[in-house]
Amino acid sequence: MAIVNDLMVYLNGKFSWSLPTLPLAGFPQFVATLWNRVTTNWSQGAQVPAVVKIAVDSSNPLIIPMGGGTVEAVAASILVQTGSSHSP
């Protein structure tokens, strides 16, 4: 089982990128929450798909702050594009 942070660490190592990783001090709380979510179609050591799905559902929602309220996310994904030399 891997979490989003594991994916970022993996991508940093594989592509020499500088993606943020935990503990994410000074980052918005939502980002830290997202980085701790489990990925459902990628595990450490495996090839990274273009769309990495995140374990979010109605019983385990991801709360997105929006104005004075929130939007409940029950699924979300990380999009990964590695096709050029450009570093994020």
Binding site: V56, L62, S77, L79, S84
Partner: protein
């Protein structure tokens, strides 16, 4: 009312990493993507609507914003306010309130919690007011600052 986010299948056009989700609004899927997470610490995740989308009526939109964003009015309140408007304006306004809307802008900044929602309303047939004014479309924009305008 159900609001759901589901994964999208479109990776970013250039190399990088972004976050994507889709809101279900009245059973309509609304895909929102973040920018590349390059400046994530500085900017946070900012989601934006990828394509305009037809979704429910104006009153449905108001109810959604009321439920999700603490927008101060409900659809029923809008209908009640319009009912107080004298003819010949009440009927076209009621028609407008029940017209279908196209969501054109949805921006959510997860760092600041600021948002923008914009939609266009195109009543069919176009509204005639006093036979001198024909309304074919109206735009509405609501931001987290609470300001509502009709561009």
């Amino acid at each position: 009312m159900t609001t759901t986010l589901v994964a999208t299948t479109s990776p970013p056009a250039t190399a990088g990493v972004s976050v994507s989700a889709t809101i279900l609004f009245n059973n309509n899927s609304v895909t929102i993507n973040s920018q590349s997470i390059t400046d994530l610490k500085k900017n946070g995740l900012v989601f934006s609507l990828t394509n305009p989308l037809q979704m429910g009526t104006f009153l449905d939109l108001v109810d959604w914003m009321h439920g999700q964003l603490h927008f101060p009015l409900t659809g029923d309140q809008v209908v009640a306010y319009i009912a107080e408007v004298p003819e010949p304006f009440e009927t076209p306004l009621q028609s407008l309130a029940h017209a279908h809307v196209t969501l054109t802008v949805l921006n959510i900044n997860t760092k600041t919690s600021l948002y923008q929602v914009a939609a266009s309303i195109a009543p069919q047939p176009p509204l005639n007011i006093l036979d001198i004014l024909q309304v074919t479309a109206i735009g509405i924009q609501v931001s987290s600052a609470g300001k509502s305008t009709s561009p």
